[in-house]
């Protein structure tokens, strides 16, 4: 029987465009009697309803969670238009899933209840102490504008349990992003996955951006729509275009990727990524903005070097990882593509056993962050 030899984590991906075929390919690679959870990331190009049905049919009683992407990290490195999945073996992972459909109404009471339920569920099958050996992954609808509050609330309820995650993407169309749970795709929703395991693991986040001298003060913002109308007292587009030395018409995602802005809190810089230029001369962001915050112009350091250093450090602490689940900002991927380093990036991701997706924002310990590589590294079974 194959189940006795199955590793704790299996991964699979499919290029098939037909949902049934894609689901069948994943099932063929992942199914075994002890499969406890399937986590998948799929291109938003799939007919989602059909894909959802096909996955449910293919995996039966096994819980399935996932989201749409702005690109996938597959067993071969970066991919597009695909679906990639990770299978968790129930003998190594006690898993519990939660779905939040009303993000507006998600308050601390609900968060507490959700976390209690998730952890109680985990505890029933717990394989290791809950407090030390559990992490939580969040998948959010990346265009919901509610990430900050939901995450801050969830983090407060989770206490010391580390959490990370990514915001779903839609191949840079900025139209419809979805998360998957309980057998179908949902918009305006969040999926919360609690994982308890004996395997050593570490939740991490890294970015390769360094501060420059220039500061941009947000002098007018529309916080509801995450828009910055003015920077340093002039229209936001004008100020940003001058900063990067380009005409306003030339601003696009590639420029945003190479010239990010960040807020400094304490010693750390947190990138606030620009989503797009609006007709009224304002800039839309992927995360919360506010009048009076000070944005620091950032400049990129070598991106793959930074990632390799981070992954090396993880491997030295945990031993060779059996898998890394990566939430990789799509702006990083744009930068890598602009630098012509896709192949080197794919090689690095493949060699370090990264599976994941390109996000519209990452989550780390309850913080909604941008332009980072955030995830969990799972070590190998001890003895």
């Amino acid at each position: 029987m194959r189940d006795t030899v199955a590793p704790p984590l299996c991964q699979a991906d499919s290029r098939a465009r037909d949902p049934e075929t894609a689901a069948a390919e994943l099932a063929a690679a992942l199914r075994h009697p002890h499969l406890g959870l399937v986590l998948f990331f799929c291109s938003a190009e799939y007919p989602l309803a059909a894909l959802g049905e096909a996955l449910t049919a293919a995996f039966g009683e096994v819980p399935v969670a996932g989201c749409t992407t702005a690109g996938e990290i597959t067993t071969e490195g970066y991919g597009r238009g695909r679906v990639v999945a990770i299978g968790f073996d129930a003998r190594h992972f006690a898993v519990s899933l939660g779905l939040v459909t009303d993000l507006e109404a998600f308050d601390l009471v609900q968060a507490q209840r959700l976390c209690d339920d998730l952890l109680a569920d985990c505890r029933r099958h717990a394989l290791a102490p809950i407090a030390e050996q559990t992490f939580v992954m969040t998948l959010l609808d990346g265009l919901s504008s509610r990430e900050e509050q939901v995450l801050a609330t969830l983090d407060a309820a989770l206490g010391s349990i580390p959490s990370f995650g990514g915001s779903a993407g839609d191949d840079n169309h900025l139209a419809h992003t979805h998360v998957f749970c309980e057998g179908r795709f949902h918009g305006e929703a969040a999926v919360v996955v609690a994982v308890n395991t004996r395997l050593p693991f570490e939740v991490f986040s890294t970015h390769h951006l360094r501060p420059r001298v220039e500061k941009l003060v947000v002098t007018r913002a529309d916080r509801e729509r995450r828009r910055v109308l003015e920077l340093n007292g002039v229209p936001a587009v004008e100020a940003y275009a001058r900063l990067v030395g380009l005409a306003p018409e030339a601003l696009d995602a590639g420029v945003f990727a190479r010239h990010p802005l960040a807020v400094r809190i304490g010693e750390d810089y947190f990138v606030r990524s620009i989503q797009r230029v609006n007709a009224d001369g304002s800039l839309s962001f992927y995360c919360a903005v506010e009048t009076g915050i000070v944005l620091t112009a950032m400049t990129p350091a070598p991106i793959l070097e930074d990632l390799a250093t981070t992954l090396d450090a993880l491997a030295s602490r945990l031993g060779p990882p059996s898998l890394i689940i990566g939430c990789d900002c799509f702006l990083r991927r744009l930068e890598i593509e602009a630098l012509g380093q896709q192949q080197a990036a794919s090689r690095l991701l493949r060699e370090r056993r990264v599976i994941g997706f390109n996000t519209y924002g990452e989550q780390h310990h309850g913080r909604h962050i941008n332009q980072t590589f955030t995830g969990v590294a799972l070590g190998s079974a001890r003895g």
Binding site: M1, E61, D155, S160, E214, R223, V244, A288, H365
Partner: protein, 448 residues
Amino acid sequence: MVDISTRPSPASPLDLPGVEPGQSQAALAEENARLRRICAALIERVESSAQPGTAPYAAFEHTVVLAEQVRERTETLRHTLEALREAKAEAEAANLSKSKFLAAVSHDLLQPLNAARLFSSALESQDLGEEPRRLVRHIGRSLQDVETLLGTLVDISRLDAGVLTPDRGSFAVGELLDVLAEEHRQLAAAEGLDFHYVPSRAVIDSDLTLLARVVRNLLGNAIRYTTSGRVLLGCRRRAEGLEIWVVDSGSGIAEDQQRTIFEEFRRGPAERGRLDRGLGLGLAIVERIAGLLDHPLGLVSRPGRGSRFSIRIPYGRAYPAPPPEVGAEAPLRGLTAWVIDNDPEICIGMRALLEGWGCDAVTATGVDDLERGERADLLIVDYHLGETDGLAVAARLRREWPELPVILITAYHDAELKAAARARGYGYLLKPVKPLRLKMAMLGLRRR
């Protein structure tokens, strides 16, 4: 990265890159207006940041700051905990080594003492004068007392060192108490006390030797601290277990001392004016043994009236427990069972067996062939089904009938499969299926 600033350094971080500051009145006014706007925005931000806001950016900022604080405090806490853990380990190690040392010393002392007693009894049998004989007898009795005291010390240090493990079993309480009653009846009579013993036929579950030590200490104390009146040994049946009572009409213990008398080296005031040779370890031993055996102690006492010590022991089993009633057919009668096995012969065999027990059996060689009625009480499914497997079939049927009890049958043992079945709450049986085991499994699932 190309430095895109065209402005000569040093520049203000707030200058507009690419714009040379004009020196005209109008240009300065414009720059002034711009800086005012920046100031206004910063003022707004600074002033609102003190408010506990629910705004999105504030939530983010708050989480970042909080995370840093939590990280720092967690770090401090971890250091403190580590230090505490180390200190505790050291203290435990020190305590353990003290107990071991005491046990070793006591044991080493017993050896020469034993020899001294032998010599003194040898001396006693010599032809001595009356006075020397009396002295030798005194020496002998003193040595015996020292031996008893050392024995007590050994006991308590062994208890503390955790080297004493109880050997529990069922026995009639009479086996224990009859002997102790006989021993103490004479001791009580020597002190001029009445001794009453009420026998019991109860069967208890305990360690005979350790429990004897407890009752002996309690009786010894009762006699020691009672000047006149009586001492009673008896039992009382309670729902939770049997209580052995030792009651005396002695001096009693004040309420504020009823806790401390169980501590080491505590002694009640010697009543009799005689030399009290105890070390005050009797009740300390009683408490440790009771804790070790998990037998609750009780004490009711009134100064001047007397005391009642009790210890509660769980009931034992007088006879081996009767086997579960697997012979009775009734519990399975009328039960509808689905049987899926890709071997038609097995289907026939199972049907015959199940119908023999009064069950309705619906058999099929595959899940698609199963004639499902409204419901079934039980699914018996083979793991090896060719294309699919029993777990998948059970999962599929449980989607329609979530509570359906399942018994998984497999031809060869696989620990992983067994665990998988367990995890799902399924029964798990090996082929060839033994009818009695199947029936037990069915009864077990049905009872749930």
